[in-house]
Symmetry: C2
Subunit: 238 residues, 2 copies
């Protein structure tokens, strides 16, 4: 466990510390320390991704960041805060990623194109960025982190549901949200699989696109009445 140490907030007596961040640490004001914080987060991601979670000690992170333990504690109150910050950084990155994706000219095309391009883009991001990979797949050793990952997935699903509203009209909102959730989770899981089996990674993502297309096809414009599977009440059960 991380935080169950005695508070021990002694502080030198004789002077009232004026600002003092309530729970966090010093806020970096110089460029130097801002870079240091970045290096610490990079190191945390690298150590976690390559050495595994057991090896992610503060010593190891400090060493990889080429700094000292003390420096870490200048900016982070404890170990959990480091990983919180790391998670937040990558989650923000993913949000930005989706902002860019859904703001581009992509939305003009048919839904199949959007999906294919979106999946390709995420796959590339996942392949490229080790930190993203670590946060996406492996940083779930705290209940809180798992919850935050889940919350991010819901957020992404919400955005996709909006797109579905435009591209798959005639599907009731609840069902739309459910479909979006399924797509997000499905693609996310397949990303993990692709990372776990590098030699088949590309093929996995190709098939993932096919799966999602097949899954959504019955809901595309006008197909609802033709096939047996149309918009239904599924997904709104308690």
């Amino acid at each position: 466990m991380f935080v169950n140490r005695k508070p021990r907030r002694s502080k030198k007596s004789g002077s009232a510390p004026p600002p003092e961040p309530p729970v966090g640490r010093r806020v970096p004001t110089q460029e130097r320390s801002r870079q240091r914080v970045e290096r610490i987060l990079d190191a945390a991601a690298q150590v976690f991704a390559s050495e595994g979670h057991e090896a992610a000690t503060m010593e190891a992170i400090a060493a990889r960041a080429e700094t000292s333990i003390g420096s870490i504690y200048q900016f982070f109150p404890n170990k959990a805060a480091v990983f919180d910050a790391l998670v937040r950084r990558y989650h923000d990155g993913i949000r930005t990623f989706f902002d860019a994706l859904l703001a581009g000219p992509l939305l003009e095309g048919p839904w199949e194109t959007i999906l294919d391009a979106g999946i390709d883009a995420i796959a590339t991001l996942h392949e490229t960025d080790a930190g993203f990979r670590a946060v996406w797949g492996g940083l779930h050793f705290t209940k809180k982190m798992l919850d935050e990952g889940d919350a991010l997935n819901r957020e992404i699903a919400d955005r996709i549901a909006v797109v579905f509203g435009q591209k798959l009209p005639g599907v009731p909102p609840r069902r739309r949200a459910f479909l979006a959730m399924m797509v997000v989770e499905l693609v996310g899981a397949m990303l993990l699989l692709a990372a776990r089996r590098p030699e088949q990674g590309r093929a996995v993502m190709t098939e993932t696109k096919a799966v999602v297309r097949l899954y959504l096809a019955p809901y595309a414009q006008g197909a609802a009445e033709l096939s047996g599977r149309g918009p239904s009440k599924l997904g709104s059960r308690s």
Copy 2:
């Protein structure tokens, strides 16, 4: 890390210990201790599943098993061995599960029925057994454990590929294996999702069945030539 203690194998001198398990510990011969070993493994699964991996200390496991730390070390050489045994136990359980599933009269029916019944059965197992859930989704904090989980998935996929050989003729073997892998991983991921969102769990599994059916439909008897998607070389890339 677990095992990087000095061997310290002192042993009393003066007598050649005749059997002595090479790396493990005593092999339980009495019924009493056999039950104790079971209780220890149960406790390990429970602690891990409910308290999370950080709380899975030997003390906690001993307490939950209502025994002493010393007793654990009577049968397990170290902490890693406990989790190894736990993983092995549940993996064996899953193998037995598939043996029963694929040996029953189920195989006589059409492939859709087999898939639906199989998915339902696994979902029930996953819902019922907390230990299974812990091993399936959360015991991946060691490289070795992740690898063993991956190996198990491959094993399951191999068995399913055999069934595909009977039920989806005309699909080349490599493609069959790939499809089986996709199905296994897809269902596995959806099980995790269902556990993460209990209120939608049933709906998720229902949709999973639909996804898998849609995915496999083009490969069913005679459909290969009709649709655009037939047996292809996909999945055999390096």
